[in-house]
Symmetry: C2
Subunit: 162 residues, 2 copies
């Protein structure tokens, strides 16, 4: 299969300089602020974004080690299939966070609820639109009994590079 | 900036063989079925996924032309900043759809609500978890008065390769 080649369109700045001890999802990072520096050549694409209260950031887990197909997630003590988790050790290490957009200052976005490592390469920004992104679910598998702990659990070293 | 190199982990099969005339979001594709063929070498990562009613597909808009920073979206007649839209003509042409998971048959997922072009390269699968992905928004910018038409609008040729 052919390679798909992407390039960072910016860098995400956050208070988290180590992969250990971080919130594991935006719902565990309420109020934590960061900024998204979009490289100047892409700045024109930010027009109209300020109208949205929430945006989707897609980024590259640049510190993730080689992928594993089975992982013990932060919330669990059992091995789960990787694609049934949000662990960073993915074949294509794509991260996704919905963050609150506080302000757009030229090519810099002030954001809140960031669960992202400082220095993370940004790949895309999309507006968060409830009609597209809000779904009523019937089941959340192994996470069903553990979802509440998403808010309080912090990362440990299990997905660090050796 | 260094290249970020990804590879398809599978192929998405849908009834949509042309980029024109398609639903523009999953909410406009309710009940439309497709399948996600995960390459056998990644099949082990699908363990435990069957427990989730909804999943996030991240994929490569393989038919998208070169990016533009200003676009007239399908729902609008005015030019908008690309990152304030879900248009496919992105610097990194990453697509995101939340689909309903009907069944997991070995390395094939039967899915519903697909708004994706047939033959699209799959990059990642994540479980859809309301605690992570469900946000109450205050504003949806230029889309606010047009959101209802997401369900009925079909794509035209404006983002086709010339």
């Amino acid at each position: 299969m052919n390679a798909i080649v992407y390039r960072a369109i910016g860098i995400i700045h956050t208070p988290f300089t180590h992969t250990t001890g971080m919130p594991i999802q935006p719902c565990g990072a309420i109020g934590i602020r960061g900024s998204v520096e979009v490289f100047p050549e892409y700045g024109d694409g930010l027009k109209d974004l300020a109208g949205f209260s929430h945006i989707i950031l897609l980024y590259h887990f640049h510190q993730a080690p080689t992928f594993r197909l089975h992982v013990v997630p932060f919330l669990d003590s059992e091995e789960r299939g990787l694609f049934a988790t949000r662990a960073p050790v993915r074949p294509n290490p794509l991260g996704l966070s919905v963050v609150r957009l506080r302000a757009v200052r030229s090519n810099v976005l002030d954001v809140e609820n960031v669960d992202i490592l400082d220095g993370t390469p940004l790949l895309d920004i999309k507006p968060y639109v409830p009609d597209c992104d809000h779904w009523k679910v019937e089941s959340t598998g192994w996470l069903a009994s553990k979802r509440r702990r998403l808010r309080t659990t912090r990362s440990d070293a299990r997905f660090e590079r050796s």
